[in-house]
Amino acid sequence: MSLSEQQVKEIAYLARLSIDDGEVEQTTAELNNILGLMADLAKIDTQGVSPMAHPLNMSQRLREDEVSETDQFEAFQAIAPQIGQSHFLVPTVIE
């Protein structure tokens, strides 16, 4: 499988990365070069093999639903790019 320039633009957008028209050709070539590595995988028979989601085959640990975090409101606001009235500010979404 190899990617078209149009597909690369779509993938970039899905990942919320902008890609200049001048970069599309090179990026497509680079990504296709990487995907070329993956072609070998098709050679392996994985019929009946279960996917490995976790190295230790552990299940998710559960805990009591108790408050364990302290309030760090000010510390988190202090490192934000833009705040106002206790919110993280972004450009207007709804007029």
Binding site: V8, R16, L31, I34, L35, M52, P81, P91
Partner: protein, 481 residues
Amino acid sequence: MMHKLTVAELSKGLKNKEFSSVELTEHFLARINHSDLNAFITVTDDLALNQARAADEKIANGSAGILTGIPYAHKDIFCTIGVKTSAGSKILDPFISPYDATVSHKLNSADMIMLGKANMDELAMGSSNEKSYYGPVKNPWNKNKVPGGSSGGSAAAVAGRLSPFATGTDTGGSIRQPASLCGITGIKPTYGRVSRYGMIAYASSLDQAGPLTQTAEDAALIMNVMAGFDDKDSTSVDRTVPDYTKNLGNSIEGLKIGLPKEFFSQGLDSGVAETVMAAVKEFEAMGASVQEISLPNSAYAIPTYYIVAPCECSSNLSRLDGVRYGYRCEDPKDLEDLYLRSRSEGFGPEVKRRIMIGTYALSAGYYDAYYLKAQKVRHLISEDFKKAFQDVDVIMGPVSPTTAFDLGAFKDSVSMYLADIYTLSLNLAGLPGMSIPAGFSNNMPVGLQLIGNYWSEELLLNAAHQFQGQTDWHAQMPEGV
């Protein structure tokens, strides 16, 4: 000469009042500030000296622990309260963490001295440390060569004796490969052994932290602090931590070593192969037995890793969007522009490539062919190891197919990915591994890789320590140090 001492020796020196922690810290800070290796992103002079003064007080009043007052370099991937944690990326250049990683907390609690934050490939993606937003790190053995990556700053700092030890993280070889290329000792523990809390995630099912040191003994001392269950990391394993120094002196007579034939086939530099085999012979001379084994699916580790890791990173890095912390573009015209430009301006080219590969491999219609297939092959790779460990105690081989390469030698991603061939499979399986200095080829260090079964860090450290008792490769230093 203090900088040439190991952590174990420094610990004795501090205890015997041969020098103070402040003297030690000033000595290393001066070395860092005169160094041209670019091993550090941030040097924390004031913080280090404050920590050293507190450590000296504890030493004076008799409440010091074994590692009180020992300085270290902290990979810039671990969150540190009040100190920039950039992970080598422009997108986190403004990020000052409001909390400490568990590893940072543990080292602080052991009264250790953070000299600064070590340089690294951007967001731990790279094998040469050339992908850092803060510029490449130089290999102390030859400044035209790379130190390896992604923990390149950590490895260069220890090899250049700018720090007695350093922390690192290893997702596909990022502790072992730079340790090998810089001629030092590094251990990647079993997945789940060291807490990932506050360690900026690259690929969460593969990432694991460990120390880079001069010796296996030092690695054992640091592992005693770093390892252990953490409630804050849902993948941390609740399992007793042994005293890793306790069995270092055990004989390795009868140790069964397996050499995977796939690790010695084409692509391996002949000088590296000879050096590795000479080290294996040394183990034989100490009473170990050696047999050939097979890891038939190991060649597939590259495509498998380069699907699994990008998939996880594309998901993990979606949080870096310019809204709550980190870099934000100038004057975004709307929310979408904010996301697109903050991320495009903030991430470097290699990170973007991996995000895009992961986004593609997880997208509808391609998931089965890429991600699901890779997770199945991952299972096969892990089964290969399981079978091998029925017959042998430790697997040995090269860490990297070559010694350190020239800065700028690799023009494209794929050729650099191929150099990760011997390290990736352990991470996919979750197994522990080490690199220890095994000799030199063309005047550059060569590492020997030791791979153990799950939770066998003690045995790996024991075998490495015994080897270091018979050889002095680990004590070699670059010229001028």
